[in-house]
Amino acid sequence: MPIEVLMPALSPTMEKGNLAKWVKNEGDKVKSGDVIAEIETDKATMEVEAVDEGTLGKILVPAGTQDVAVNTPIALILVDGESAKDLSAQPKAKLAPAPKSAPKPQPQPAKAPAPAATIAALPDVAVPEAPSEEVPAGTEMVTMTVREALRDAMAEEMRRDKDVFVIGEEVAEYQGAYKVTQGLLQEFGAKRVVDTPITEHGFAGLGVGAAFAGLKPIVEFMTWNFAMQAIDQIVNSAAKTSYMSGGQVSCSIVFRGPNGPAARVAAQHSQDYSAWFAHIPGLKVIAPYSAADAKGLLKAAIRDPNPVIFLENEILYGKSFPVPKLDDFVLPIGKARIARAGKDVTLVGWSIGMNYALQAAEELAKNGIEAEVIDLRTLRPMDIETVIASVKKTARCVTVSEGWPQSGIGAEIASRIMEEAFDWLDAPIERVTGKDVPMPYAANLEKLALPSVAEVVEAARAVCYR
């Protein structure tokens, strides 16, 4: 029986792709390792290699076909001793189908280039655009992804100030491991967009030294997990030198990159560092959710005379938001944003935590609970005043994040509310967090380890006693 070649998933997020080209023709001999076709994914053109030895018996999906779903049979391979007349035989499926509980390719927007198991569990909600005094009335909005917004922010600041440069692993020729620095090398050249060896401790320290000398580095960590190699330079050198030098030495530097769990990349690549850096005096810590905030705050971070930790999120990179079309859109660091107004309970989120909070608010509204959703945006300095003002109105609060519970940002918010608004509270503050375990790899366990919209809804109902 001929063997079916199936349309492969060639990235953690791919659902369908275009069959760009057949490299082998019907009748050609193939052996394992031979490239038989080229497939365009959302990110790149990839080659499909044969795994079996035989003859390419029949091409089922012609070259040029668009949007071929993953796991569609695209060709039949005849094995030893088979001939064209065997093509009508029932093809042997390569493998028996996976059990019910097996991880299936997750449904998600075809354009999302980043692994997105979590976002799949969190379908897009329209973000209610709270009218913002930060954007002049009548400003035209353009839709762009967080990835594009970050890129534009860096490009605009690099045009504005020649002391700004980008340094990190794969930021230049590869265009960024997550394509955030796309096009920067082409526009600004290799002097200002610098590929480094894999030496986080070294290039973070180098960046800090360059900042001492007056340059304005943007240090990209491929992901924040790898910044653990460099945390000494961030904490002991970047954060403290202004103070230790009695204000003589400044360190205007941005450390940025994706933070938090991605999808199925397991314990060493899935963790949220919000609380780690928010703990440190001398640092500013920003964790935006929307593309507009990502852009306006990254521009502010680059201009800020202090070391700024800029925590992005891989799952959010591909998500689109309206962004004001302004020549120079800069947002204030240290100011929260009320993303949705409400009177019954305050939900506090930041970064991808907003994704859970906003959807939970939508759910709660169906049950007559009006949640006020606050996007902290900056974790240090923290705009606790906005949270307190909201809690004085709602008397209830739930915090939402993917980080671990102990000593987390939620714990900090809870104690600040206790200190400053205890008498206004009608219920204990609830924290929805990632579970207190390293991130497991298995699909079912990963899902359990992450917070969910249902958990936020449940916590909100609990504090509302409804």
Binding site: M7, P12, T45, V51, L95, P99, K104, E173, Y174, A266
Partner: protein, 350 residues
């Protein structure tokens, strides 16, 4: 420093290096393998190749998620080194680890089931492709942070020295990892205390999209230990005979209490860095050329047939056997149940 380590360190040998041609001399001696060994190597390398191809396929079907780094092209390194070590010697490596696990004698079923995140995987489905361990087989992982395993491997060697147990730890890392600071901190301690560790640098010419030339001031990695007086040798990592020969010398050197040494394995990965890397940073014919002229498995096959030490039929039989082992592993790994939800909180501490 513990006393045991000090006493090992006192056995100072003046003849530096595991062989005559130390410190980067190009020509590694090639030992002629016995027919039995050559067939063993053929089969073992093929097992890795087929395993990796299957893993790529399961990834394509959505059964494996996250990052998956294939070892295709580099098989001779772990198999040659595997033939050079003794029972009890340890192995530690990074995330491109499936080959190292199979070479350590771990069960393809258990490895594949870990890749699919099922309960019978080596880490009960909780580690995945990059984080797998088998204390039974002395395989210490499977590490996702580039360079971290170098200090860890040095620490395992420290324990060997401390216990004076005669074991050697093979510590594998990539050309990219070779630029991490902790590598040199480890080199210094390993030489200072004469720890029984062999650093195997798998130079596959790229770290993700960055070629060695673009990342390294000293591209001859066998010389990276020179300022610590650690001898090194460049080895044709595509030739399993050369790997085994160099490995035997290096392991004997380390085991004899002479301290660490470095083997730079000149090798090549055929696939992208991970499943989603289109590998646009290197010309296609670069890959094709290695594949056609230096494939570690084809070279053994051609030699066996050419020298009439094995027949086509004999090798075909091995091919079929290997394929059926791999198919069985894939079938197992796609039908095993996922971990029990209670597993979420198990083993965090003990």
């Amino acid at each position: 420093m513990p006393v045991a380590a000090k006493s090992a360190a006192s056995e100072k040998s003046t003849a530096r290096g595991p062989g005559k041609d130390q410190a980067g001399a190009g020509a590694a001696a090639i030992s002629i393998l016995s027919r039995e060994d050559e067939i063993k190597a053929y089969r073992a390398m093929l097992l890795i190749r087929r395993f990796e191809e299957k893993a790529g396929q399961l990834y394509g079907m959505g059964l494996i998620g996250g990052f998956c780094h294939l070892y295709i092209g580099q098989e001779a390194v772990v198999i040659g080194m595997g033939m050079a070590i003794a029972e009890g010697d340890q192995v530690i490596t990074a995330y491109r680890d499936h080959g190292h696990m199979l070479a350590s004698g771990m069960d393809p079923k258990g490895v594949m089931a870990e890749l699919t995140g099922r309960r019978s995987g080596y880490s009960k489905g909780k580690g995945g492709s990059m984080h797998m361990f088998s204390t039974e087989k002395n395989f210490y992982g499977g590490h996702g942070i580039v360079g971290a395993q170098v200090s860890l491997g040095t620490g395992i060697a420290f324990a060997n020295c401390y216990r004076d147990n005669g074991r050697v730890c093979l510590t594998y890392f990539g050309d990219g990892a070779a630029n991490q600071g902790q590598v040199y901190e480890s080199f210094n301690m390993a030489e200072l205390w004469k720890l029984p560790v062999v650093y195997v640098i798998e130079n596959n010419k790229y770290a993700m999209g960055t070629s060695v030339d673009r990342s390294s001031a000293q591209t001859d990695f066998s010389k990276r230990g020179l300022s610590f007086n650690i001898p090194g040798e460049r080895v044709d990592g595509m030739d399993v005979r050369a790997v085994k020969a160099a490995g035997e010398k290096a392991v004997a050197f380390a085991r004899a209490g002479n301290g660490p040494c470095i083997l730079e394995m000149m090798t090549y990965r055929y696939r992208g860095h991970s499943m989603s890397d289109p590998a646009k940073y290197r010309p296609k014919d670069e890959v094709e050329k290695v594949r056609a002229e230096h494939d570690p498995i084809e070279m053994v096959r051609t030699r066996l047939i050419g020298e009439k030490r094995a027949s086509e039929d004999e090798l075909k039989k091995i091919d079929a056997e290997v394929r059926s082992i791999i198919n069985e592993a894939a079938d197992f790994a796609s039908h095993e149940p996922e971990p029990d939800p209670a597993e979420l909180y198990a083993d965090v501490t003990r």
